[in-house]
Point group: C2
Chain length 245, copies 2
């Protein structure tokens, strides 16, 4: 499997570029690339190019070859917004949701969140998750790094997406037939979807009411109860199955 790196500028075929310090070090010292090793470079506008190492030095000079026309991104822009979960589950959600094609990944403290990110540590936590997302995007050969966001509360939720779906386990437990597939079929042409997931204890009644009042659609994630970190990964996989397979 060839290595892929993101490059912060636009590119065209036959460009000659120099890889940044960190990526060069990874490519030459960790991956032991040599002169002529094929790699892939994604430009700032999300285009992927085949490329090769010109010389195994740091920083590394790279020859850009032809553009790759295949698509790697989900055809629907999906933002997942999760009630802040316990422990290192935010890391797991970020890495896996990136692999599974999320457009944006957000966290917010909800009524039943046990964890709390105090104001001072928030910036460094988001930077850390953003780095996890970048590495996962490279590893999964995506052409976009999902943006990480942190909201101060429900009132900051952006309802400008075509479709806002609340994945609520209380609906899964009851027999209401609002499955995610049906919800998506009832809202065709939804090019950008915001999906909201509760923390470990689920949503509070006040949160359900607020989201309902704002026009969110409630949906279930099938017959089994998924943990808060599993639910967004299942949802992204279902959207992939229904839109790109």
């Amino acid at each position: 499997m060839v290595q892929q790196y993101f490059y912060p500028k636009r590119l065209k075929s036959n460009d000659n570029i120099e890889l940044g310090q960190e990526d060069s070090f990874h490519l030459i010292k960790v991956m032991r690339a040599v002169s002529g090793t094929p790699i892939e470079i994604v430009s700032s506008d999300g285009e992927k190019y085949e490329a090769k190492v010109r010389e195994a030095t740091i920083p590394t000079p790279i020859d850009i070859l032809s553009k790759v026309t295949k698509k790697f991104e989900l055809p629907v822009k999906v933002t997942i917004l999760c009630g802040l979960p316990k422990q290192n589950k935010a890391d797991l959600i970020t890495q896996k949701a990136t692999e599974l094609g999320a457009h944006q990944i957000g966290f917010l403290e909800m009524d039943r969140s046990i964890s709390s990110w105090d104001q001072k540590k928030r910036k460094s936590k988001i930077e850390r998750l953003q780095k996890i997302a970048k590495e996962a995007a490279e590893q999964s050969h995506r052409t976009r790094v999902p943006k990480l966001i942190f909201l101060d509360g429900n009132q900051e939720i952006d309802f400008s997406d075509n479709l806002v779906i609340v994945c609520d386990e209380d609906i899964a437990k009851s027999n209401h037939p609002f499955s995610l597939k049906k919800t998506l079929e009832e809202h065709p042409n939804s090019h950008s979807i915001l999906m909201i997931f509760g923390p470990e204890g689920g949503l509070s009644d006040a949160e359900r009411q607020l989201l309902k009042d704002k026009g969110a659609v409630f949906s279930s994630l099938g017959p089994r109860i998924l943990r808060c970190e599993t639910a967004p990964l299942y949802a992204l996989s279902v959207i992939s199955a229904l839109t790109e397979l």
Copy 2:
């Protein structure tokens, strides 16, 4: 959300039972159930019953009420068989694949597995994973605990399932249109499916040839490259989307 426990015998409505020591302790001391608290009990034949605590003692006497008719299991029996991954990824795969409905979960040392489970520790490792699966099955309100298996090598793979699918990232990277959805559509009426996943480094050519010779079908998991622990979770979610949503 009510607690669910597995009971090692068959049950019928109006039975009066006593919960085992460990489950009783969990129910009364950890979950703080009281007399009358509703719970769910799954019998040894996979039937789920509504039930309630008769008295908050240990062991706990339970009144079995009515049978739950809703289905919780995937309509297709899916066994996932993974090349032994690094570190604690086997734990993650076991927990999440259980939530996502796997019928059986297996591991085997493949040519490119870096980890190795020596003969002496194998039994305790499988027991540990079996315990993770039991807890995840209770938490996700399934009516079956997936069986954990460990194979000594490729020659022990059981090809008696209707359909054996090898999920191969080299196919995902090339442009072959063998997507998992298409593979499933080409093999309707597959009631039991064995899905094989490589370890971190993927399958060796020798393994690909052996599996091909045995009649396995090769398929891809969409346009992005998934880590070895993400691939089976995606595959189970896709099968759920296509068969039960």
